[in-house]
Symmetry: C2
Subunit: 360 residues, 2 copies
């Protein structure tokens, strides 16, 4: 029988007996998730795919139900010194939609759980919620439930998104095949640079309250950081063009990290070309200004919410006419590793430096 | 267009302009939820029932999909000074299952999002997760996804539970009819008294580290607080007996509060009898010892996770043989209010003093 056979309850208050102690930072976020979900076997008939993709896949009827969840914590994922609450709500919803699109599905419902400290007024929570509602309106999603409670410190936002897809349409991370093309939408690194910009101006303002933030000519970067959109348009364009990606995910942690997920889950390697990675002009200028390597920003910055996908080389002709889709490399044998080919032809192994949630 | 037309971005860092400020405590949890979700209209065909019941009801196939979510925050919902992590994980999962059973459904999957501060080691998170997994094993539920991130302070647990039910089986809160019987399972107030006991002993230990916690003869109350179970057995027994409740919910905030939900959503009133409310012997003894009114504990204590339901008076004969189900009153006309009839026949209007998440 479970736990506390209550004869032993006297011991309840003497908690945390000498236990081995492994710091979570030694595992990293993905390591911890793998560790916690090891040996997990599905028991429900309706569970088609559990942990390990952008969303879980459930099968309740003819169509498949997709489920994904995200937790956002103040001070970790957002800083209210420069993130307006309405933007925050919008982004919190959209990043979940992005996970559903990354499965080639359509988001349909969300639940919203909020932990709110006394610092916040009803009007502020209204602002936050109005952003969530606006995102839902724009993407045709319903808010169907939630939970609201007080918190001791800061704001906690937990959103779970439900979506749907026909079984045959769902794209997992594990379907990339040798010689497939690797593509991304939009451009990479802009959201990260938007964050650097906001941080820089925050520090300037701290030392000189009369300073005017220097955002001119960099508005696009702020928009990418503060108000990202999910690439529904790309998913629709691929469908229209008759392209069925072999693997797909959204770029939330960074291109390197996501490529490594696809390669390890598909049992393949990859080669991407530095000069093919799409980069926005404003991002390149700011990186120069801030003495950052723009390619590193694009590879490891994260929060771009662009789609990364692979497709058969036979789809090449169909890909070319698509707006805002870029071929950046191809799938190789696993032995080749996950490789970046530099402007001068040099080969570098990619590292997943993505956003390390548990870094010390 | 939405938000920050970025010309105005210079203003981004000058946040929180003079805004009206309404304290959330003036609304309470339910008031806030009603406020935030006002005028919400479903746009997805698959949304059958949104906010306002124990779970949302979605329709993706022949069967219905149920969704519910709960957010647990350290210092608000649990105190790790006396809640072992494995118990906490078990309870966090079970309270979600309880919401699905309260719809007369079967929980099938959960997602688990954890926010973890540096204070916690991998071994501790393992403990927590082992409780979640054990609950899942016992109730036949799969963990299909989640999110794990660091938090600045304390532990955050957000669980979303998916369940299924045939459309005709689902029981909402709004179906109670005039003259229906009002029933509860198990007993009420025990979980609350378990909490009072733990709090009392915590304070004793604080002032005298050598004291031995006085739990003898009160183990059941601790179990009710630390390791509640969802009443799957009752849902199954009702089905077997051929009883289809007209309204149902689980008792998480307290009997008064839940009765008022059922009555207001069904457009009816109720009369319950003080001497019919099932109370455990240990709970009664401890209430006496601590100078608490046991009926108040039963009405407003919360966290019992028993089922409260109404059913047709025609089901009376089928109800009687059921184990651990008690008839406590009946549904009246709305004008009658939600009424408690005392031991001497006096009538009191119930107040929802349930767990007020936003009390000052």
């Amino acid at each position: 029988m479970y736990l506390c056979r209550l004869k032993k309850c006297q011991r309840l208050l003497t908690i945390y007996v000498a236990m081995e102690r492994t710091e979570i930072s030694t595992m990293g976020e993905f390591g911890l998730i793998r560790h916690l979900t090891r040996d997990m076997k599905a028991v429900c008939r309706s569970t088609q795919k559990g942990v390990g993709d952008d969303a879980a896949v459930l099968s309740f009827g003819n169509k498949r139900t997709l489920v994904t969840t995200d937790l956002l914590l103040e001070g970790i994922h957002f800083n209210l010194e420069y993130v307006p609450l309405k933007h925050l709500g919008y982004k919190a919803a959209v990043v979940n939609f992005s996970d559903i699109y990354a499965m080639n599905g359509t988001p349909t419902q969300i639940t919203v759980a909020l932990g709110i400290s006394k610092r916040f007024s009803v009007e502020q929570i209204d602002e936050l919620y109005s952003g969530i509602r606006l995102a839902c309106e724009r993407y045709g999603v319903d808010i169907v439930g939630g939970d609201t409670c007080s918190s001791l410190t800061g704001l906690t936002i937990s959103i779970t998104c439900i979506g749907e897809a026909a079984d045959k349409d769902i794209v997992y991370r594990n379907g990339a095949k040798l010689n497939d093309l690797i593509c991304v939408s939009g451009n990479l690194g802009s959201a990260y640079l938007g964050l650097q910009l906001l941080e820089r101006e925050r520090i300037v303002l701290k030392t000189n309250a009369n300073a005017t933030p220097q955002f001119e000519g960099k508005e696009y970067l702020l928009e990418r950081q503060l108000k990202p959109e999910a690439r529904r348009d790309i998913v629709e364009a691929l469908r229209k063009a008759g392209i069925h990606p072999t693997a797909m995910m959204d770029v939330s942690d960074g291109l390197s990290s996501e490529l490594m997920h696809i390669c390890s889950q598909s049992g393949v390697g990859c080669a991407i070309y530095e000069d093919k990675i799409p980069i926005d002009y404003q991002a390149a200028v700011l990186a120069e200004e801030m003495n950052l390597n723009i390619v590193t920003c694009a590879l490891n910055g994260g929060e771009d919410y662009e789609l990364l996908f692979t497709c058969s080389i036979g789809d090449y002709e169909k890909l070319i006419p698509l707006d805002d889709v870029y071929i950046i490399g191809h799938i190789t044998k696993q032995e080749y590793g996950t490789c970046l080919i530099g402007r001068n032809g040099e080969e570098l192994q990619l590292k997943a430096q993505g956003w390390q949630a548990f870094e010390k």
